[in-house]
């Protein structure tokens, strides 16, 4: 890459930041420690720091880190309770795991030169498919064949119901696709745009604009990091609600 930069002019490699690299060299096999593995591990560390060490004093009047831990807990807990009802709280640790992983990975990915696991479809597809499969299996286990009433809109006129059932069925299977691409797409696009602005910063004439652009995009990315984690979690709750209460 260095020799290309020396060739002069504008060189953009906005996607290079997403390349999976082995940390200790060698080939990328299924178990190789890569930059993706490193930053996933760092998000585990961040979660431990925030939720385990932050709450270790168990004080009635919370410290700052304990406040954040309690806030995160209350945020997701209330979301699950509001959307899925009381019986949804059984799956609260699962949803909290998804939320904490995505939010920590997103925010750690905002550190310059870091790597963002959630910018990869491999990661978000697994997350979304896990939700999709869990919800589908849970729906059939809890409701039996009654889960299929999710696709049979009983409030619609009888003639429309078969058509609506087909639409509902398609939208049900599109869920994991939109669920995963939304998260990875948002994160990837933001990071790539910042990189493009950074490429423009090499030109003296436009570098102030480029730096301003990076700053603005970075602020937007901070928002997007949280909002996408929130959206992913709330959609998980909505899908889970369908499995618990399939009747419209």
């Amino acid at each position: 890459m260095a020799d290309k930069a020396e060739e002069g002019g504008l060189v953009f490699h906005p996607m290079d930041q997403f390349i999976i690299k082995p940390i200790f060299g060698g080939d990328v096999t299924w178990y190789t420690p890569t930059n993706a593995a490193l930053w996933m591990g760092l998000s585990i560390l961040a979660i431990i720091l925030l939720l385990v060490l932050g709450s270790s004093k168990r004080s009635i009047v919370p410290s700052r880190s304990q406040s954040i831990a309690e806030l995160a807990y209350g945020f997701v807990y209330k979301m699950v309770e509001d959307i899925c009802g009381k019986e949804g709280l059984r799956y609260f640790p699962y949803i909290m795991t998804l939320f904490m992983f995505i939010v920590c990975a997103n925010f750690l990915g905002l550190i310059p030169t870091s790597f963002t696991p959630t910018s990869h479809f491999a990661v978000t597809v697994v997350l979304a498919l896990a939700v999709f499969l869990t919800v589908t299996v849970l729906g059939f286990v809890k409701n039996g064949a009654g889960f299929l009433s999710l696709f049979w809109v009983s409030s619609a006129p009888l003639a429309l119901r078969p058509i609506l059932a087909i639409i509902e069925l398609i939208s049900y299977f599109v869920r994991p696709v939109s669920h995963s691409i939304r998260l990875a797409g948002n994160v990837m696009a933001g990071h790539a745009v910042i990189k493009v602005f950074a490429g423009f910063a090499a030109l003296t004439a436009v570098s102030p604009v480029a730096v301003l652009g990076i700053t603005a995009m970075y602020g937007l990315e901070v928002l997007v990091s949280f909002i996408q984690a929130y959206v992913f979690t709330i959609l998980t709750c909505v899908y889970l609600k369908d499995a618990l209460h399939p009747h419209h």
Partner: protein
């Protein structure tokens, strides 16, 4: 390093690293591992602990509120007791003042009555003394008049009849 240049080639040739499926197995392995680790940390340590902290805080707040309610009612009771004591004290003070007034009035009445009696006695005595003095004065006038009449009669060369003169003087005094 060989793989690095290989993937860099893949990226610079226009492909997205996201669609380089050769790395998917690796990412999925580490992701599943990460999620399992996070799930166990959360469900075994973090979430029960935070739930306990929140429950404990809720309990503390509830009991503190109850204690505050208790103290408030106690303060109200104390205020009522204080008010009652104040009213009692005021009534007692009124009673004492009235008693003292009545006592003083009694003393005053007795003293006035005594003084009146003394004054009446004194004035009766004085009246008696005045009457005595008046009687004494009448007697003296009679004596002086008789003597003067005798002297006048003798000076005129008559012989004074003592009885006649006394009778004349008496008649004159009465008239």
């Amino acid at each position: 390093m060989a793989t690095e240049t290989h993937s860099a080639d893949a990226a610079s040739s226009g492909g997205m690293p996201q669609l380089d499926f050769s790395t998917w197995g690796n990412q999925i392995f580490w992701l599943v591992l990460t999620l399992i680790v996070i799930y166990f940390i959360l469900s075994r340590v973090a979430l029960p602990r935070i739930a306990a902290i929140l429950a404990e805080r809720q309990g503390t707040i509830t009991s503190d509120l109850a204690a505050a309610e208790d103290l408030k009612s106690k303060a109200k009771e104390a205020e009522a007791a204080y008010d009652k004591a104040l009213v009692d004290a005021r009534a007692e003070a009124h009673r004492i003042v009235a008693e003292a007034k009545a006592e003083i009035q009694d003393d005053l009445d007795a003293a006035i009555a005594k003084a009146d009696a003394e004054i009446a006695a004194k004035s009766a005595e004085s009246e008696k003394a005045i009457a005595d003095i008046r009687a004494g004065a009448m007697e003296a006038v009679k004596d002086v008049a008789t003597e003067t009449a005798q002297e006048i009669v003798s000076a005129m060369g008559g012989k004074a009849d003592a009885k006649a003169i006394t009778a004349a003087v008496d008649a004159r005094l009465k008239g």
